[in-house]
């Protein structure tokens, strides 16, 4: 499949590629390398333009976009109920932008629209990296922390755990990211289980791609 990835950094992009291939069960061909957004809310602002560009100017089958939840609402199955949309959930908002944007696009390059792959790291991608290495780092733990007001860890502390510093250089970030996601390369179900509202939706989207392409 031909996939574009909209991410915050080359490190995120490298890790996401591994995870995408893990879910799709094979290598992907990257389209439009190095699409970048400057975090939330910049990613929401540029997403319509990115979708439009990929739709008309490339042969991308799908676009994967992943954001950090930071301290915002964690996506839950309730948000997925028909007609439901949580206005403070970044995942819901990205899905909505996707929906609104592709709705008005005519078919192009032999496909109806670019397929959607949306995920939301809770609270940051380093939590995904720690999945399977640190039992305490899960979406549930974070959601409980948001509910009680006592967060189990901070984003900077997650960075310390992954990189040994909260100021990693880009090469270090890439090295560590690739080393950590290796655990999920063969089987991403643990990641899906521990992060059901963040990696889960992305995995679900990607499986839909596979169905459409089979």
């Amino acid at each position: 499949m031909k996939v574009a990835i909209l991410s915050e950094s080359p490190a995120d992009e490298a890790a996401l590629r591994v995870l995408i291939e893990a879910v799709l069960g094979g290598p992907v061909h990257r389209v439009q390398h190095a699409l970048r957004a400057r975090g939330w809310p910049s990613v929401a602002q540029v997403l319509p333009g990115v979708i439009r560009h990929l739709h008309f100017n490339t042969d991308a089958d799908g676009l994967v976009v992943v954001v950090d939840s930071d301290d915002s609402v964690v996506h839950t199955p309730e948000h997925d109920a028909p007609g439901r949309f949580h206005s403070e959930c970044r995942l819901c908002r990205l899905r909505s932008i996707f929906r609104q944007t592709v709705k008005h696009l005519p078919p192009a390059r032999g496909r109806a629209h670019v397929l959607r792959g949306v995920g939301m790291c809770v609270p940051a991608i380093e939590a995904w990296y720690l999945c399977g290495r640190d039992e305490r780092v899960t979406e549930g733990a974070w959601a409980e922390g948001l509910r009680t007001g006592v967060l189990p860890y901070t984003r900077n502390e997650l960075k310390w755990r992954v990189y040994g510093t909260d100021r990693p250089s880009l090469p270090l970030e890439i090295r560590c990211a690739l080393a950590e996601v290796k655990r999920h390369q063969r089987d991403p179900r643990r990641l899906e289980n521990d992060f059901p509202g963040s990696f889960g939706p992305l995995a679900h989207d990607l499986r839909e791609w596979r169905k459409k392409n089979s």
């Binding site: 301290d71 900077n156 502390e157 960075k159 040994g164």
Partner: protein
């Protein structure tokens, strides 16, 4: 606090040189105070005191080389400019007061310990190594006198001389710089030096695939990048590095790298380096650069200008910061004016 997770170093104070500076009647800084951390990004409108802060440090450096004035010296003129410097542990008991006759003549340094105090001598040695930079790509593009390669000059005009000296006598530093340069500018595979006559040397970057680009034909951004790397990879870096307009000439996507190059100075352990940290004070007008400090707002100082006076505020001191950055980037929020640090409008 995390439940058992590894956290960062206990205190940054022990790693800095200057803990704080207080200003009285110095240019726009009529009554201002700023606490300094290992890394400080100063933002604010023109004339808000960003450069004045750097000037103050340079004046301190200059005067600290001289014997301090007697405590009971000539009576200070009321309302005269004054700057008070405090230092980081273990020298937090030392206070240096810089008195001025006018905004332009500051020549009276008083310290609250004897001139021979061991602590002051240690502080003094570190103050002597304060350096300030405002890179000039025209100057960098020219050839340099080989003999001038001891340390990077204020405008980095001697970049070629510094790097050729490293290539001949500081091989690890030069190799590190060259490797990082090639990573950041992948169209190049290395650096080379060419004699330019009369003891001068010219810098060139070797192109991937053959050929080379001489410094005068390198882009402004590439030259600035090389100058930043020359600071970060210096075998004997200064104690304090002040850089004006850090973002100048750099593509927005390179700003993260520029920040990280300076983090290499201020947080060497994060890069696996075993050397003393360098305190960094950088100024910028780039919202994109500011965006990169979302996880470290304590490193951002906002220079606030109100009419003809100015003062400093730490971004992290803002109580509602967490709520604000939930729906906006730091750069956009700064531009909007809600942080202050923007030009006044009539």
């Amino acid at each position: 606090m995390a439940d058992g997770l590894v956290v960062g170093p206990a205190s940054w104070h022990s790693r800095t040189v200057i803990a704080s500076v207080a200003f009285r009647n110095f240019k726009a800084l009529r009554d201002a105070h700023v606490a300094l951390t290992p890394f400080n990004l100063i933002i604010g409108p023109n004339g808000s005191g960003k450069t004045s802060l750097i000037e103050a440090l340079l004046r301190l450096r200059t005067l600290s080389r001289l014997p301090p004035a007697e405590a009971a010296g000539p009576a200070k003129k009321a309302g005269a400019p004054e700057m008070i410097f405090r230092f980081s542990p273990p020298h937090e008991h030392i206070e240096a007061r810089l008195g001025c006759v006018s905004e332009f003549v500051c020549d009276l340094l008083q310290i609250n310990v004897p001139a021979a105090d061991a602590g002051w001598l240690e502080v003094k040695a570190r103050l002597a190594c304060i350096r300030s930079f405002l890179f000039d790509h025209y100057a960098m593009a020219a050839s340099a006198n080989r003999a001038d390669g001891a340390g990077l000059s204020t405008n980095a005009a001697n970049l070629a001389a510094v790097l050729v000296r490293w290539s001949e006598g500081e091989a690890p530093a030069f190799a590190g710089l060259q490797a990082e340069f090639c990573r950041l500018a992948p169209e190049f595979t290395g650096l080379e030096f060419r004699p330019a006559g009369e003891g001068r040397v010219e810098l060139a970057a070797i192109l991937d695939g053959g050929g080379a680009v001489t410094a005068e034909n390198l882009s402004q951004g590439v030259l600035y990048l090389l100058a930043l790397l020359a600071l970060a990879f210096a075998p004997r870096p200064p104690s304090v590095v002040c850089i004006e307009e850090l973002d100048r000439g750099l593509h927005p996507r390179m700003l993260r790298e520029a920040r990280d190059i300076l983090y290499r100075l201020s947080h060497p352990s994060a890069f696996g380096l075993k050397r003393a940290p360098v305190q960094v004070i950088a100024t910028t007008h780039s919202p994109y650069l500011l965006d990169l400090f979302k996880d470290h707002p304590e490193e951002v100082v906002i220079a606030q200008k109100n009419g003809r006076t100015a003062h400093f505020e730490r971004l992290a001191d803002r109580a509602d910061l967490r709520e604000l950055i939930a729906e906006g980037s730091l750069g956009d929020l700064w531009f909007s004016g809600i942080f202050g640090g923007v030009p006044e409008e009539k």
